[in-house]
Amino acid sequence: MDRFTSILLAAGLGCFALAFVLSGVYPWLITDAREPEATIAEVARRVTPEFKQLKEAYPVAFAAAFPGADECLTDKDLAGVPLDDPRRARSEDAWRAAHTIALRDGRDAYVAEACWHCHSQYVRPVANEAQRFGRVRSAADDNNALQRPVLWGTRRVGPDLTHEGGRRSNDWHVAHLRDPASTSPGSIMPRYTWYFRDGWQVWRTIDPELAEREGLAPTTRYPIPGVYATEAEARSALERVRAETPENLHAERDRLEVAPSSGPNETALALLAYLQWLGTWDASQREGVPQ
C-alpha cells in the first residue's frame, strides 16, 4: 500500500505535473500570457476584398449564409452614396459581423474536413520556407481565438497555407475546391464536391465575330454572378441583366441564356473567406497598438 501511494503521488501526479509546468505553463507565462488573446471579431475587423467579392459573385448563398447580408453594401452599391451617409457606417459594421461568422464557420469546416492533416500553417525559419511561403510564423500571430486549438498541422502533403489569403482569386479557389486537378493537374487533394449546390445561372455568350473584332478572350461564354435554386429565379435574373445592359451592347444582349450550373454553398463561402483571410491579420492591427 505504501508503495502504491508513493507511485501514485510521485510518478502518477508528480512527474506529470512537473512536465505540465515546464512545457505548458512556463511557455504560456513568457508568451501568450502577456497579452490577451484576440477574439474572432477582432481578427475579422479588416474585411478582405475577396470576402466582399464573394457577395457579388454568389449573392444568394451569401444572403443565406450570413444574417444581415443585405446591409453589406459593395462598392457598386455605394457608388454615389455620400461619405457621411449612415448607410456606409452600417454597412461597415454588417461586413465585420458577416466576416466574423464566416471566419468562425470557415475554421470549423477546415477542422471538420481535417485539411490540417495535409496542410500546415507553420512557417519555420529553416529549409527555405520563408522564401517559399512567406514570413516566419511568430507567437503573436497565433494568439487569437481562431487558433484555439492551434492548426499548425504536422504534415505537408499540400503546401503551407499560412499566407494563403489574397494569393489566389476566389474563382481559382472555387474551381480548385470542386476539382483540384482542374487547376493543378495531377493534384491528389480530394474533390470537395459536397460544398457545391446545383442550380441555375445566367450565361452570357459573346458573338464570336464580335469577339474577334473586339479582340476579346477566346472564352466567349461566361457566367453572370449568381446561382439560383430554380430556373424561374434565374429567368427573372436574366430579365434584370437584360434591363441593365446598355442599348449599345445589343449584340450581346440577345445571347443571354439560362443554363444549369453549380455554385459554392454557405459552408464553402465561409471556407473561402477563411482561406482568403489566412495571413492577412497580424498582431500589429490590434486596437491600441500603433500601426
Binding site: I7, A112, A114, A127, N128, G153, T154, S184
Partner: protein
C-alpha cells in the same frame, strides 16, 4: 519439467476463478474488430495518394474524415481494448485479487464500445476537434459552450475513471506486500491516462491560445503514447515475458531505474512535436535533451529483457508469443534510436512535414505495441477458449505478413520522407514533389495490403478456434515445446 508443470497447473487452478475470462475475451475480440476496421481505413486513405480513392465526392467518407478514424480507432478501439483485455488477465494474477466488479467490467465494455461508435460517427459527420490523436469530438463548437454533438471527450474521461476504479481496487488490496514492477507501470499508466486526457481535451480548446496551446497539444500527443500506451505495454511485458519463459526478470534494479526514468523523462518530451516553432527556444531545447535521455532509459529496459532471455534464445524460434514480444522490443529500440536523431533541429529541418513521420508512427504503433498485443492474444486465446488453435500455421502467416509488411512500409516511408524533405528544401515545384512521391505511396499501399492480409489470417484463425469443433487445449503441450508456436 514435470514438477514445474505441476506447479504451474496448481497456480492456474488457484487463480483461475479470479480472472473473468469473458471480459478478457470480449475486449480482445473488440480490439481485433477495431484493428481490422482501422486498417481498412488506412488502406483506403492510402489510395487517395494514388488517385484511386473509391469514395471521392461523398462527404462523410472523404479522405480527411476517414483519416481521423484510422488513427483514432487504432488508439481508442484497438490499443485501449487490447490493453484492458490483457489487464483483466494480468492484474488478478499479480495481486491475488479479482477486479472491483465483473458487472462494472461489462458496463465498461459496453460503454467503451458505445464511445467508439459515437466517436467514429461524430468524426464522419464532421464534429472532430483539431487535436492530433484526440480528434474525438468534444461535442462543443471549438472554444465555446454550444453543444453540437455527443460530448465524447467527456464520456472517455468517465470511462477512464471507471477503468481506474476497476483495476486500482485489486492493486490496492493486493495480497502481496511488495509490488512487482509491472504493477508500478500499470498503476501509473492508468492514472496518467485520466490526467492526460483531461489536459489535452480541455486546455487547448478553452483556455490556452496559440503557441502555448500548441505546447499542450504536443504534451498530449506525447503523453498519450508515453504515459499510457508505453507503460501499459511495458507493464504487460514485465508480466508475460517471465511467465512464458518461466524465468525471473534479469535485474530488478534495472527495471526500477527504467520505470522512474520513464516517469521523469517521457512527459518532458512533449514539445518535440513542434520544434523550430514559436514556442520559446528554451522549452524546445529542454524537449530535445529529454528526448535523447529517453533513449538511455530505453536501453536499460531492453538490456533487462534480453538479459531475461539469455540462455533461452531458442524460444524465439519455437515460441510465437515470445517472438512477437521480442520483435516488438527491437522495434521499440529502433524507434527510440530514430527519435534520438530526428529530434535534433538539424534533422527536424529536413523531415518534419514529410512521410518520415508516419513511417516512425507506424513503426512504434504497429511494430511495437500492436505486435505485443498480437503476441499476448496469441498466447491467451487457446487458454480463454479452451480450444486448440484451428491452425498454428495461420499464426505464422500472421507474423510474417505483418513483419515484412511493416518493414517495407517503414523503409519506404523513411526514404520517401527524405526525398520530400530535400525537394522542399530545394524549392521544387509542388506538383513535382507530388509526382516524385507517387512510387513511395504505391509501395506503402502494397505494404499495407500485406499487413491487412496478415490480420485477416489472424482474425479467421481466432474465429475458427473459438467456434470450431472442440479440441481441448492442453497447455502442457506448449510447455513441452517451450511455448505456444
Amino acid at each position: 519439467m514435470t514438477s514445474t508443470a505441476t506447479q504451474l497447473e496448481a497456480a492456474h487452478a488457484g487463480s483461475a476463478d479470479l480472472v473473468d475470462k469473458g471480459l478478457v475475451k470480449w475486449h480482445l475480440v473488440m480490439a481485433m474488430f477495431f484493428m481490422l476496421t482501422a486498417m481498412t481505413w488506412g488502406l483506403l486513405i492510402s489510395l487517395q495518394f494514388l488517385h484511386a480513392y473509391p469514395f471521392e465526392g461523398i462527404s462523410f467518407l472523404s479522405y480527411g474524415r476517414v483519416r481521423l478514424l484510422h488513427t483514432n480507432e487504432i488508439a481508442y478501439g484497438f490499443l485501449v481494448n487490447g490493453f484492458i483485455g490483457c489487464l483483466y488477465y494480468a492484474i488478478p494474477r499479480m495481486t491475488g485479487r479479482a477486479v472491483a466488479s465483473s458487472k462494472l467490467g461489462w458496463l465498461i465494455l459496453f460503454v467503451w464500445q458505445f464511445i467508439l461508435v459515437a466517436m467514429s460517427v461524430g468524426q464522419l459527420l464532421g464534429f472532430a476537434q483539431a487535436v492530433e490523436w484526440g480528434e474525438t469530438p468534444t461535442g462543443f463548437r471549438p472554444g465555446t459552450f454550444d453543444l453540437n454533438y455527443i460530448p465524447v471527450d467527456f464520456l472517455i474521461e468517465i470511462g477512464a475513471v471507471l477503468v481506474a476504479i476497476q483495476f486500482l481496487t485489486p492493486i490496492v488490496r493486493s495480497v502481496h506486500k511488495r509490488q512487482y514492477v509491472s504493477l508500478w507501470y500499470l498503476t501509473a499508466g492508468i492514472v496518467w491516462l485520466i490526467l492526460t486526457y483531461v489536459m489535452g481535451n480541455t486546455l487547448p480548446e478553452w483556455t490556452l491560445p496559440g503557441s502555448s496551446g500548441a505546447a499542450t497539444v504536443g504534451l498530449f500527443i506525447h503523453d498519450l503514447v508515453g504515459l499510457f500506451v508505453t507503460p501499459m505495454g511495458w507493464g504487460l511485458m514485465y508480466f508475460f515475458v517471465p511467465v512464458i519463459l518461466r524465468r525471473p526478470v534479469w535485474s530488478h534494479a534495472l527495471s526500477v531505474i527504467g520505470f522512474w526514468a520513464l516517469a521523469f523523462f517521457y512527459p518532458l518530451n512533449g514539445v518535440h512535436h513542434f520544434l523550430l516553432s514559436s514556442i520559446p527556444m528554451s522549452v524546445q531545447y529542454g524537449a530535445v535533451i529529454s528526448t535523447m535521455a529517453v533513449e538511455i532509459v530505453v536501453t536499460t529496459v531492453i538490456v533487462n529483457f534480453f538479459g531475461t532471455m539469455w540462455g533461452s534464445g531458442d524460444a524465439l524460434r519455437t515460441n510465437l508469443p515470445i517472438r512477437w514480444f521480442y520483435t516488438g522490443m527491437v522495434g521499440y529500440f529502433i524507434t527510440c534510436l530514430q527519435c534520438m536523431f530526428h529530434t535534433t533541429l538539424t534533422m527536424q529541418e529536413l523531415i518534419h512535414f514529410t512521410d518520415w513521420v508516419p513511417g516512425h508512427a507506424h513503426l512504434v504503433m504497429l511494430g511495437v505495441f500492436s505486435f505485443w498485443i498480437f503476441g499476448m492474444t496469441t498466447w491467451l486465446w487457446p487458454r480463454l477458449t479452451g480450444n486448440e488453435w484451428y491452425s498454428r500455421r495461420l499464426n505464422h502467416w500472421h507474423y510474417w505478413l505483418s513483419v515484412i509488411g511493416l518493414l517495407t512500409m517503414f523503409v519506404d516511408l523513411l526514404a520517401g520522407g527524405l526525398v520530400h524533405g530535400f525537394m522542399l528544401n530545394a524549392l521544387s515545384d509542388w506538383m513535382e514533389i507530388v509526382r516524385a512521391m507517387h512510387g513511395f505511396w504505391a509501395v506503402r499501399t502494397f505494404a499495407g495490403a500485406m499487413i491487412l492480409a496478415g490480420q485477416l489470417c489472424f482474425a479467421w484463425n481466432l474465429w475458427k478456434t473459438w467456434t470450431g469443433p472442440k479440441r481441448p487445449y492442453d497447455y502442457r503441450v506448449d510447455l513441452a515445446t517451450a511455448g505456444g508456436v
